[in-house]
């Protein structure tokens, strides 16, 4: 009996900080969604201006993304093989590409709403916040994975209907680094961003 009570207390003690931790991550996702949705709706012609959309993403979303970690995970085993300078360049170019990808996706927020469903703690200090976009015939499931490693929550992966962004890029990065090395990857990213 005593053992049961003790383990129950331990379980509760372990759960309490975890829940508080998740609340912070959930709040951040909710706030990001609300801010961007409000901007897009206040300013409907925004949708037709890629430059303005990119500025919005740069301003409101980019600071909450851990581009360093995103790039590191997308490069996988090739990350340690790149020099410090190369790593910096890949991060810079890849974040530009991601900002553009996001800007394109934002237009849909005109008639869709983001709802936070729940969250769960992963190994380490990571939390996955599950959301859905509603407004079309079928809700779209979007999960944000955040970590609080360096003070404050930052997003490092987005999973749309089971498709992880990092995993999607890893395959591509791998094949490019395999055929033309890290400089080839930097060149490919630059070329894509210049278009």
């Amino acid at each position: 009996m005593l053992r049961f009570v003790v383990s129950l207390c331990l379980a509760v003690l372990c759960m309490a900080p975890a829940r508080a931790q998740n609340a912070g991550a959930e709040d951040l996702v909710r706030r990001m969604a609300a801010e961007v949705t409000a901007q897009v709706r206040k300013n409907p012609e925004l949708v037709n201006s890629p430059a303005q959309l990119a500025a919005l993403v740069e301003q409101r979303l980019a600071p909450r993304f851990d581009f360093n970690r995103v790039t590191q995970m997308a490069m996988g085993r090739n990350w340690p093989r790149a020099s410090g300078g190369e790593q910096g360049q890949v991060v810079a170019e890849f974040s530009k590409l991601l900002v553009r990808t996001y800007s394109n996706a934002l237009a849909s927020l005109r008639d869709l709403d983001v709802q936070v469903r729940d969250s769960r703690s992963n190994s380490g200090s990571d939390v996955t916040v599950r959301t859905q976009m509603i407004g079309r015939a079928k809700p779209v499931a979007i999960d944000y994975t955040l970590s609080s490693a360096s003070g404050g929550w930052r997003v490092y992966d987005v999973t749309v209907e089971g498709v992880s962004l990092i995993t999607a890029y890893r395959d591509e990065f791998n094949s490019i680094v395999g055929s033309s090395g890290v400089p080839g990857l930097i060149a490919a990213l630059k070329q894509k961003n210049a278009k």
């Binding site: 769960r120 890893r170 395959d171 591509e172």
Partner: protein, 235 residues
């Protein structure tokens, strides 16, 4: 050997309460593509067809037809598809989901005027997700190698069998007249038109479009099979 290690890693991560995306992110690139040179050839062919014919048709479709008409066409085909979705949910042992699917068909075919209006979705009967490739996956079949089919696009060994089964069980396959060909073509255009935005998004975000598409397809299919397994286990 490698496969058993990988499933052990995935199982361990899963039990630790981690997300599937995390499990995927930690395992090596999940693709099996021995036919890559051939696949790339068909991929290029499909891309060319897309650019010269399908995308222009889809764009015209989207601009010329008013939204209610486009939705009506999508709903009629969606209503037919609900029959197949329900059958697959039954095969997966998901009786309750199958009930939802067949109720949708019943309501949409009557109140929804032969499927033109998706009334069921407004009555809290949500459209399900199901196909024979998913059923094979729920039964334990691995996706096998990646395949790019001419015209149809990304697939896998398992999903190609699933697609063949779908074609074989479609009444249109056995009506050899202009109407059935027209209907198949119409559905094809409608699906293309529905996905123009997604295709554009892949264009802007990918470096190697072939590798990117392959990865998106395999991840998406794994998620669909996983959700089928979960639903079958929780029935």
């Amino acid at each position: 050997m490698i496969r058993s290690v990988r499933s052990a890693v995935i199982a361990a991560v899963f039990f630790a309460g981690s997300s599937l995306s995390c499990a995927l992110a930690q395992s090596p690139a999940p693709h099996n593509d021995p036919l890559e040179p051939v696949n790339r050839g068909f991929f290029a062919l499909n891309e060319a067809l897309d650019t010269v014919a399908l995308k222009p048709i889809a764009t015209i479709w989207n601009t010329v037809l008013p939204k209610p008409v486009r939705m009506g066409v999508a709903n009629v085909f969606g209503n037919l598809d609900d029959v197949f979705i329900g059958a697959n949910h039954l095969l997966q042992g998901r009786g309750r989901d199958a009930m939802t699917d067949f109720s949708r068909v019943l309501i949409n075919s009557t109140v929804g005027i032969a499927g033109l209006i998706d009334v069921a979705s407004t009555q809290n009967l949500q459209k399900g997700e199901g196909d024979f490739g998913q059923t094979l996956g729920v039964w334990g079949a691995e996706p096998g190698f990646y395949l790019v089919l001419p015209l149809m696009g990304p697939s896998s060994a398992r999903d190609t069998i699933g697609r063949a089964a779908r074609v074989a069980s479609d009444p249109r396959t056995y009506m050899v007249d202009a109407w059935s060909y027209g209907l198949i073509g119409l559905e094809f255009v409608q699906i293309k038109a529905d996905n123009v935005d997604n295709a554009n998004l892949i264009d802007t975000s990918s470096l190697d479009k072939y590798a990117f598409t392959r990865n998106l397809y395999l991840q998406r299919r794994a998620a669909i099979v996983q959700s089928g397994r979960e639903a079958a286990g929780a029935r």
